[in-house]
Symmetry: C2
Subunit: 367 residues, 2 copies
C-alpha cells in the first residue's frame, strides 16, 4: 500500500449507489495519465486494470517505477502516447488511493476495513465514468483491459454506449461461469481461514498467510498447465517434507504469494475477487443479446488457447454473441503458454494488432 508516484486524485461528493446495496460517499478516484488530451478531448484511451493492478500502468520518466503495462504504453507502443491520452484509474474497492476498505469511513472516522460494502464491476465502471466526467471526456477513443479489465470494458460499452468508440476485451468474458467462480471462492476461503483475518478488522496486522495461499491458488490459473509442466520438475528438490520446499514449483508459488502481501489489501482482495464472480454483463437485461445490442463501439475480443481460468471457448462464445447482436467485432486467438496472463506478457503479438484496431498513426516500435 505504498503511495503511487505520479498519481492524481479526484474527489466526487455525489454518493455512488452500489449495485448490491449501500453507497460510497465521498468517492475518491486515483488515476494517472500519459500523453496529451487533444482540444476536442477525443483521443482518450481508458486502461481498465485487472484484479491486483492499479493506476500505475506505466512510469512517468526514465527513473520512475515501471508500471504493470509498461511495454504497452508510450510513444510507438500499443497504446501510443504520441497519438493518445492514456488514462488509468485504480479500481473502486482496491485501496490504491481510490476509495476502498482502507479508506476512512466518514460516518465512523475509522477505516471501513471489514465493513466495506460488496462492490460489482458495474460499480467500478460507474466510478470510472465519474472520472471521465471530471476530466470532461464525453467519449473515449477506446477502452482496453485484460481479464477483470475486459469485464470493465464490456460493462462500460453496454451501460454507457455513447461513451466509448472502441473496446479491447482480452482474456475476458461476458459473465463468470460457476467453474471459474469456484477457483476464486477457494482463494477467498483461504484469506478468511487465516486467524489474523478477524472478519476483516485486522488493522495493520495483515492476514498475510491467508493472502499468500489465496494468491498461490490464483497463480495456478494465471498461466497454463503447459507452462508449469515445462518450467518445473516432478522430482523433489530436497528430502520431502510437509513444511519445507519439496518441489521447485513451491518456491515459485511462495514467491508469488509473498509479492502480494503489502501490495493488495486482503479486504480489497476479497471484494474485487467477488466482483468478478458476480459479473454478468446482461444482468438487468432481457438476455445477453439484448445487453450486447446496446453496444455502439467496435469490439476487439482476444482469447488465449491455453487459458485455464476462462477457457477459449467462453471467449469465442462472447465473440459469437457480439456478432449475433450486430456488434462490429474482431476475433483474435493467441496460442501462448502464458495462458490467462498473456495480455501482460505477449507484447510483440499484441502491439501491431492493438495499434491497427485503435488506428494509431505511425508504424509503431514493434509493429
Amino acid at each position: 500500500m505504498k503511495p503511487i508516484p505520479g498519481a492524481c486524485s479526484v474527489r466526487d461528493d455525489r454518493p455512488l449507489p452500489l449495485e448490491f446495496g449501500g453507497e460510497v460517499s465521498p468517492l475518491t478516484i486515483e488515476y494517472e495519465s500519459w500523453g496529451r488530451l487533444n482540444r476536442e478531448k477525443g483521443n482518450a484511451i481508458l486502461i481498465c486494470p485487472a484484479f491486483s493492478a492499479h493506476s500505475h500502468a506505466r512510469s512517468h520518466d526514465r527513473n520512475g517505477d515501471a508500471g504493470w503495462w509498461e511495454a504497452m504504453i508510450g510513444p510507438g507502443r500499443a497504446f501510443d502516447t504520441d497519438d493518445f491520452f492514456v488514462i488509468c484509474s485504480s479500481l473502486l474497492g482496491s485501496g490504491y488511493g481510490t476509495t476502498g476498505p482502507r479508506t476512512l469511513d466518514v460516518a465512523t472516522g475509522e477505516p471501513y476495513a471489514g465493513s466495506f460494502p460488496i462492490i460489482s464491476i458495474r460499480d467500478i465502471v460507474d466510478a470510472q465514468v465519474r472520472l471521465l466526467d471530471h476530466l470532461g471526456i464525453d467519449q473515449l477513443h477506446g477502452a482496453a483491459g485484460g481479464s477483470m479489465g475486459a469485464m470493465e470494458t464490456l460493462e462500460l460499452a453496454v451501460r454507457y454506449p455513447n461513451r466509448v468508440r472502441r473496446v479491447l476485451a482480452m482474456s475476458g468474458t461476458d459473465r463468470t461461469r460457476p467453474y471459474t467462480a469456484t477457483i476464486r471462492h477457494v482463494g477467498r476461503r483461504a484469506i478468511q481461514l487465516d486467524p489474523a483475518f478477524k472478519k476483516g478488522h485486522y488493522g495493520d496486522r495483515l492476514p498475510g498467510e491467508g493472502l499468500r495461499v489465496a494468491r498461490e491458488i490464483g497463480t495456478i490459473f494465471y498461466r497454463s498447465r503447459e507452462d508449469f509442466n515445462s518450467r518445473f520438475s516432478c522430482e523433489p528438490v530436497e528430502t520431502p517434507s510437509l513444511d519445507g520446499v519439496t518441489f521447485d514449483f513451491q518456491s515459485y508459488l511462495k514467491h508469488m504469494g509473498n509479492k502480494i502481501v503489502g501490495t493488495l489489501d486482503p479486504n480489497a482482495y476479497l471484494r474485487l475477487s467477488l466482483s468478478m464472480d458476480l459479473f454478468n454483463v446482461s444482468r438487468g437485461f432481457e438476455n445477453l443479446e439484448d445487453a450486447l445490442n446496446r453496444i455502439e463501439a467496435q469490439v476487439f475480443v482476444m482469447g488465449v488457447s491455453q487459458d485455464p481460468l476462462i477457457p477459449i471457448d467462453e471467449q469465442r462464445q462472447l465473440h459469437d454473441a457480439l456478432l449475433q447482436a450486430g456488434v462490429s467485432c474482431q476475433w483474435h486467438e493467441l496460442s501462448s503458454h502464458y495462458g490467462h496472463d498473456a495480455f501482460l506478457t505477449e507484447f510483440d503479438w499484441l502491439t501491431p494488432r492493438i495499434r491497427k484496431f485503435l488506428g494509431a498513426k505511425n508504424s509503431g516500435v514493434t509493429a
Copy 2:
C-alpha cells in the same frame, strides 16, 4: 474415524522401511474381502483405494453400510465375487485401521500425529504386498484402482512383476506432473493455515475448517468444468456477501468439505496427498521404459476426456509408453462430465469392459 464394519486386521512385526526415510513398525493392515479364495489362491483381485477411500469398498450384507465401490463388487458385477476373491486394504498412512498418524507410536506411547513420517506410493504398495504375503497369495488375478489407486496398481506391477497378472489403472498416471501437484499443494497449505492445525499435534480438536477448504479445492478438480457449469448458476442465490452463500456451488462445496471432517484425519490427508505428488513409477530406474519394461501383467488404461486433474493426454502418454515398453496394454477413453471421478460413477460403461478384461465367467448383471 468410525470403526469399519466387517474389517479384519493383520499385524506384521517386521519394520517397513520407507522410501523417503524412517520406518513403520509394527505395521497393522486393515482389510476386507468379498467372495472366496480358491484352493490355488489364484483368483484374488486387489482393489487399490484412492485418496480418502478405505477398505470398505462394499457392504457385507443387505443391511450393511454401502462401500465406496458398492456397485462394482459383487455377484455379476465388474469385480464378480462369484468368480473372484476381492480384497481391499486401507492405505498405509490413512488412519482407517491401517497404521497411520492416529496410531500409537510404540516408542512414545502417544499417537504419531504430526510426527508420522512422509510416505510414498511405494511404501503403500509394500504394505499391500505384506498383506498378500500374510494371506498366502503369491500372484493376484488382478489389481484395480482409480486415481491414486491407479498409481498403486502401476507401482505394484513394476516393483512386484510376478505378483500380478492384470492391472486396471483408471484415471491415473505414471508420474504426477507439476501442474497437478500445485493443486494438491494449495490444499495442504489450507490445512496448515488453520490455527487448530498446530503442526499436526491437534489431538481431538481437528483443524476442520482447513480440512474443509482443502477438500473444496480438491472437489473443483474431481469432476469437470462442464459438470460445474451445467449444474450450477452464475446468478447469486442470495444477496451477495463474503461469509454467506452467494452462489449455489458454494453450498455444494460446503457439503463436500463437511463430509470429509471426521472421516479422513488431517495428518493423513497431508501425507496421502503428498504421496501422490511424489509419485513417479520410474524413480530409481534408468527411465520410464526401463521401469515399465519390468511389467509382466496385462494393463488396462482408462482415461476420461474431461478430467481436469490428470488430463487425458497424460493417460494416453502412459498407454503409449506401456506399448513402447512391450507391455500388453488396452486403451479405454471415456467421455464423462464426471471427469476425474468417473471411475466412481460410470458403472454401466466400466462394468462390461472390466469383466471382459478380467475374464469373468458369466455375462454379468449390467454387461
